[in-house]
């Protein structure tokens, strides 16, 4: 009998500990006490995680607020990671996501930032249903990255990106490079996000009215083959394919290898954006690089502009899992980024990001970011289009554009495939 009682006691103790495990979750969100507030932030720009952690330490020393920085998982999407946190009622105080995620999260979880001090310094914040939900973390833009050293070594004259704004001039330069010994002067990333969300997306973004264009595609009324912007951009893409160093196994080109070849001058051009600097600077790079608009035989000025704008947005959690104290600390932190010299230095110097606020000095940036900033300052940025259907990137990017890049698909086939895709795609409400 004694034994039985003992074993029952053990069972009871074990089940009690199990219950205790489950119950402790709710308390962890509000662990703040007199010693200082504690906030959490999800960093989805994984390349700046180290800088973020260092900044958090300095920030705690200066303000007493403890900032816990979490790095986004690279093997899953940020949206699914955020979803998990909300499902377990343990959200981050500050969450950094893509513009698109702001639209899906804002209604339920984002705190209204309209009354913050920094609002007047930017035009890039995201407003959803009259609520300023997204704090723009940085500016990013895409175009063709060039290695001026590699070009000048062959042509012998100073490279001016404006001189190759049209496709004809661009082709002439490529031929010159080939004649000068650079067999294949171009690299094209084969990743589906680059092909679908960055290159092909320009077909929509460069339209006079992107929203109307996408809607008519969704309605099945658009004749893509007859669309001028589509043809101009695809003509350029054909040229990129023809001069691609990985021609033959283009769909398998390795991002690291392509970036290395560009940094070291084995190729001269690569389609990309200023975020690519963090890859390029891993190699024996030259500072004499920059981003130029995608060359096009066009008369609508789009070949003088980069495509981009605010990138990575931070929202402050509005749910009950975050205390008012934490929320205030989070708002203070965003203010610190914009209005404090240390915060500015974190953005522009430590992380080498193009700031989205006009009061921040950014003269010490890397060459690609400087390019982007000069286009942004001159008002020569075509805005991102954030309402493409969710599966656009995998279907158009991977199944269609990658096939086209590998020359396993013709232009008419591509037109049909894209139009068919849009007929069954689910539009994004906005």
């Amino acid at each position: 009998m004694k034994k039985k009682l003992l074993s029952l006691a053990v069972v009871a103790a074990m089940s009690a500990s199990l219950v205790a495990c489950g119950g402790s979750d709710g308390a962890s969100g509000s662990s703040s006490n007199g010693s200082g507030t504690s906030i959490t932030i999800l960093n989805s720009k994984t390349e700046i995680q180290t800088q973020f952690e260092e900044m958090a330490e300095q920030y705690e020393e200066a303000t007493g607020v403890h900032v816990e920085v979490y790095n986004a998982d690279t093997d899953t999407t940020v949206a699914s990671q955020v979803a998990t946190k909300y499902a377990s009622n343990d959200p981050y105080t500050l969450t950094m996501v893509d513009a698109k995620d702001i639209y899906s999260l804002a209604d339920d979880y984002a705190y209204d930032l309209s009354n913050e001090d920094w609002v007047g310094h930017t035009t890039l914040g995201i407003t959803v249903n009259d609520k300023l939900a997204g704090f723009p973390f940085c500016v990013e833009a895409r175009g063709i990255i060039y290695n001026a050293d590699a070009i000048e070594a062959i042509t012998g004259e100073k490279f001016d990106p404006a001189s190759v704004a049209t496709l004809d001039d661009f082709k002439a330069l490529l031929d010159k490079l080939v004649a000068g010994g650079m067999e294949k002067p171009v690299g094209v990333l084969s990743e589906y996000w680059s092909l679908g969300a960055h290159y092909f997306a320009e077909v929509y973004e460069q339209q006079p009215d992107p929203d109307a264009f996408v809607n008519s595609l969704l309605a099945g009324e658009e004749d893509l083959a007859g669309n001028q912007k589509f043809n101009e951009l695809m003509d350029t893409f054909d040229t990129l394919i023809a001069y691609n160093y990985a021609k033959g196994s283009a769909a398998n080109a390795d991002r690291e290898e392509t970036s290395m070849m560009l940094a070291e001058g084995q190729i001269a051009f690569m389609f990309g954006g200023n975020w690519d600097w963090s890859v390029l600077n891993q190699y024996d790079f030259t500072e004499n690089m920059g981003i130029m608009p995608v060359p096009e035989n066009t008369s609508d000025d789009t070949n003088t502009k980069l495509v981009g704008g605010g990138s990575k947005y931070i929202f402050v959690d509005s749910s009950d899992a975050t205390s008012d104290e934490q929320r205030q600390a989070a708002l203070d932190f965003l203010n610190w980024l914009v209005n404090d010299a240390e915060g500015n230095a974190f953005l522009t110097e430590q992380c080498a990001l193009v700031p989205a606020f006009d009061n921040i000095d950014a003269s010490a940036l890397d060459p690609l970011s400087l390019s982007v900033k000069s286009y942004a300052d001159a008002g020569k940025l075509i805005p991102n289009y954030n309402y493409l259907p969710d599966d656009h990137m995998t279907v158009v990017g991977q199944e269609i554009m990658q096939k086209y890049l590998d020359e396993a698909m013709t232009r008419p086939e591509l037109v049909t495939a894209v139009q068919d895709y849009f007929k069954t795609a689910t539009p994004i409400a906005h």
Partner: protein, 292 residues
């Protein structure tokens, strides 16, 4: 004390299996039921409300041609991989139980690939296929060779090669145990009766090892149908999404395309197919077991 009453039995059950039942319910049963519920909603994975849509998700899952293509691909991949894994595993199991020199070393060696995680293994093999083999082939044929991963059928072949490399060692262990369980007496008796080596394998060892085959086939079939990690790190669906297997399609549908309900419904269909095939195979296999 009465030991055959309902309450006594229940108490005994609680005592011995209570905790595991609770844990099993928490981590398997409840999530499964909740997942089942989600297949009837159009939840996007994040938002607070989960609108009920009835069987819409199943309708769109059945209409999703990409899913059925990837499922067909998974069947082909699994069929070839399962046969190869088991054939290779059986052969090396035979070799390392036949008393060759250093057989313990070989056993450990063949098992090692299984200790490397699928993601890492995928990246290692990606390097082998894209760099090492291409370099080698280019030198031999003195031209630019194409990587196996750059062609549609090549990418599937590469997945099969890596799976065989990964699982064969593990299955080998089970077959080794099977070989060891066949009593020496029976083999000796067969020898005395004039059996050759091959005959005694086919007619004595293999029938007595049916349990090992049932286990190995079950493990390989379920693993092949559910494979995701190697698929992700080795090909990530490239080229042009032609190597995305069913699990990857389900994941992309739910998390990248943010169509949680359809993804969940497709996952459930995959689970049912997998459970039916696995169960059927075990049932048929068990019937064929013999005792010495």
């Amino acid at each position: 004390m009465k030991t055959n009453t309902m309450s006594y039995k229940f108490k005994q059950y609680l005592l011995f299996a209570g905790i595991s039942t609770i844990i099993f319910a928490c981590v398997v049963i409840i999530p499964f039921i909740y997942g089942l519920y989600l297949t009837f909603t159009s939840w996007d994975g994040v938002s607070r409300n989960k609108p009920f849509v009835g069987i819409d998700n199943y309708v769109s899952a059945f209409a999703d041609s990409g899913y059925w293509t990837s499922l067909g691909r998974t069947f082909i991949y699994s069929a070839i991989a399962v046969i190869l894994v088991n054939a290779v595993a059986f052969i090396i199991a035979y070799m390392v139980t036949s008393g060759i020199k250093g057989q313990n070393f070989f056993r450990a060696g063949f098992f090692v690939p299984n200790l490397i995680g699928g993601i890492v293994l995928g990246y290692v093999w990606k390097f082998v296929f894209n760099k090492a083999l291409v370099e080698l082939a280019s030198t031999i044929s003195s031209g630019h060779a194409k990587s196996l991963l750059a062609t549609e059928s090549g990418a599937i072949a590469a997945l099969i090669i890596v799976s065989v490399w990964q699982y064969a060692g593990y299955m080998m262990l089970i077959y080794v145990a099977g070989f060891m369980s066949v009593s020496e007496d029976v083999i000796e008796a067969a020898k005395i009766d004039g059996c050759t080596g091959t005959q005694s394998i086919i007619h004595i060892s293999i029938p007595l090892m049916t349990a090992s085959f049932v286990q190995c086939l079950f493990l390989t079939i379920t693993r092949c149908f559910m494979v995701y990690d190697v698929n992700l790190s080795l090909t990530n669906g490239d080229p042009y999404g032609s190597s995305a297997l069913a699990a990857m399609h389900v994941y992309n549908q739910a998390f990248i395309n943010k169509d949680y309900g359809t993804g969940q419904a497709e996952a459930l269909i995959l689970f049912i197919i997998c459970a039916v095939i696995g169960g059927l195979q075990v049932y048929v296999g068990k019937k064929g077991e013999v005792q010495a």
